[in-house]
C-alpha cells in the first residue's frame, strides 16, 4: 500500500508541477515540455494503480492504457512542435503573445 501511496503522490505532484510550468512559461517549447510532465504524472498514477491489485500479477488494463497514452502523447507533442516551428518560421517568434498585432494586420 505504501508503495502505491508514494507513487500516486509523486504522480499528482508531477501533474501539478507540469501544470504550473504550463501556466507560467510563455515559451512554446517549455509549455510542451510541461505538458509532457503532466502526462508523465497521469501515466504514473495509472501504473501505480496497476501495481496495487494485491495479486502478484500487475493489472494489465492500466498498462495498456498507458501504452496507448504514450503514443497519443508523442503524436500530439510532435504535432505541437511542428506547429511551433512553423510559427517561428512565419513570425520569427516562438510565443503566443504576438497575437494582437497579427489579427489587426
Amino acid at each position: 500500500m505504501t508503495t502505491v501511496i508514494i507513487y500516486a503522490l509523486t504522480a499528482t505532484t508531477l501533474f501539478s508541477v507540469g501544470l504550473y510550468g504550463f501556466a507560467i512559461h510563455p515559451d512554446l517549447i517549455r509549455k510542451i515540455v510541461s505538458l509532457n510532465i503532466m502526462a508523465g504524472g497521469a501515466f504514473l498514477f495509472l501504473i501505480s494503480l496497476a501495481y496495487h491489485t494485491g495479486s502478484p500479477e500487475v493489472d494489465p488494463v492500466p498498462q495498456a492504457m498507458v501504452l496507448t497514452g504514450i503514443v497519443v502523447t508523442i503524436s500530439a507533442t510532435a504535432f505541437a512542435l511542428c506547429l511551433a516551428r512553423r510559427i517561428k518560421e512565419k513570425t520569427g517568434q516562438c510565443l503566443l503573445e504576438h497575437r494582437r498585432k497579427d489579427t489587426e494586420t
Binding site: 507540469g18 504535432f79 497575437r99
Partner: protein
Amino acid sequence: MPVGAPPERYGNITVPELLILIPFTGAILCFLFPEVLRRLTGLLSAALIFSNSAILTRSIFQDGARRLHLGGWTEPLGIGMSIDGLSILFILLTAVVGLLVSIYSASFFSAAQEQVLARHFWPLWLFLWGALNSLFFVSDIFNAYVVMELVGISAAALAALSGTSASLTAALRYFLLTMAGSMAFLLGVGFIYARTGLLDMYLVGTVADGGPLMAMALGLMTVALIMKTALFPFHFWLPPAHGEAPAPVSAILSGLVIKGSFYLLLRIWFTVFQNSTVTTHAAALIGLLGLIAVIWGSYQAIIQTRLKLIIAYSSIGQVGYLFLLFPLIFMTPDPAWKTEAWTACIFQAISHGLAKAALFLAAGNLIQASGTDDLRSMRNIADKLPMTTFTLALAGVSLMGLPPSGGFVAKWMLLQSILASGQWWLAAAPILGGLLTAAYVFKILSQSFVSDDKKSCCGNVSFVMEKSALLLALFSILIGFRANEVIFLLSEPVFFIIPGGQSP
C-alpha cells in the same frame, strides 16, 4: 432504481458502426488517392454518412436505445458503445452540418489558390467527422480520452489550414489547451479507476458513490471539458481559432467540435456521476460561469468590427447558455422542470450548431465576394448576394431566440425552467443575452441596408455555396417546429436516463 446498461435490441438491420467506419474509410482513401479523386471521395462519404445517420435515427426513434459491445467482449472487459436519444441527436446534427459543409467545401476549395488546402482538408475533415461520431457513441471513459485526442489533433490541424501566422498561432493555442485538458481528463480517468476499478460509464455510474476520489475526478474532468468547450474563463482561445480558419472549418469548429466536448461533459455528469453526490455549489458555480459567458461573449461580439470575429465571440455567449443546465438540474426540485431544462439545453446546442455553421458559411461567401470580412464590406451585398443576406438574417433570428426558430424553443424552455425553479438570477441569461445577441445580429444586418456608392463589390459566389449556407439557416429555423420529436428522443424509452430522477 439506478439505471444500468440499457437493454440490447437487435430488431433490425441498421448498423450504427458504419457511422464510424465510413468517415474513417473515406479519410484513408482521401489520403491515398490522388488529388483529383479526393473531392469526389469526400462528397460520397458525406452522403453515405448522412443517409446512414438518417436511417439510424429512424431506428433509434422506433426501437429505442442500443448498446454495442466491441470485439464481442462485454463490459467491464471490453469497450462498449451506446446509442441513445441524446447521441443520435448530436449524430444527426453532425450529419446535417457535415453534409452541407462538405458540399460547401467542394465548391469553396475549388478556386485555384485554395486547391492546396483542399488536399489536406478532406482527409482531416473526414477523420474529424469519424472521431466526432465515435465521440457521440462513447461509453468508456478511457476511450473518451483517445477519441478526444483524435478530435483535438484533427481540429487543430484544420484550424491551421489557412496557414497564416495568425491562424497557426490560434491553432497552437487551441491545441495546447486541448492537450492540457486531455491530461487532466486522463488523470480523472485514473481517479475513477482508483475508486471503482471500472472504465465503462454505465457501470461506473451504478457503482460510484461520493468520496474525495470521485469528487477529484469530477473536478478534473469538468475543468478539462469546460476548457475544450470554451466556457468563460477558458474562452480566450476560441475567437482567434474560429475566426482565422477558412469558413467551412470555422463552421465545423464552432458548430460541431465544441458540441463534442459538451456532449462528453453531459455524459460525465449525468451518466458517470449519476449517483455520486454532486454539490449544488459546483453546479451553481458552473451556472454562474455560463451566465457570465453569455453576457461577456455577447458584449465582446458587439464591439468587434470583423464579421467572423463577431460570429466567433457569439459562440462564447451562446455556449454559455448550455451551462445553465447544471444549476437547473441540481437545484430544481421538480423532475418535470428538470426534463424541461435538459431539453432546452440540447435544443440550444442543436440550434446553435446549425445557426452558427450557417453564419460562418455566409461569412465565407462574403469573404469570397469582397475579399474581406470587415463589416463595411457588407454594404451592397444585399443586392449582389441576397441569398447570403437572407442566410445571415435567418441564422441571426435563431441566435436571438426569436420565434419560431430553434433558438426560440430553447430559450423558451430555458426561461420556463428557470422561472419554475425559482432561480431568478439565471433569468438574466436568456433576457439580457437575447438583447445583446440582438444588438450584434443587427449590427451585422444593418450594414446590409446601406448602399455604398463605392462599388467595391463583388466577386462571384457559387450557387452551391449560397444554397448550402441558406439550407443550414433554414434548418435552424425549422427545427423549432420539430420540438416534439426532440423531446421524444430525450424521453424515457429512448434515452437511458433522464437526469433528475424520472428514471423508472
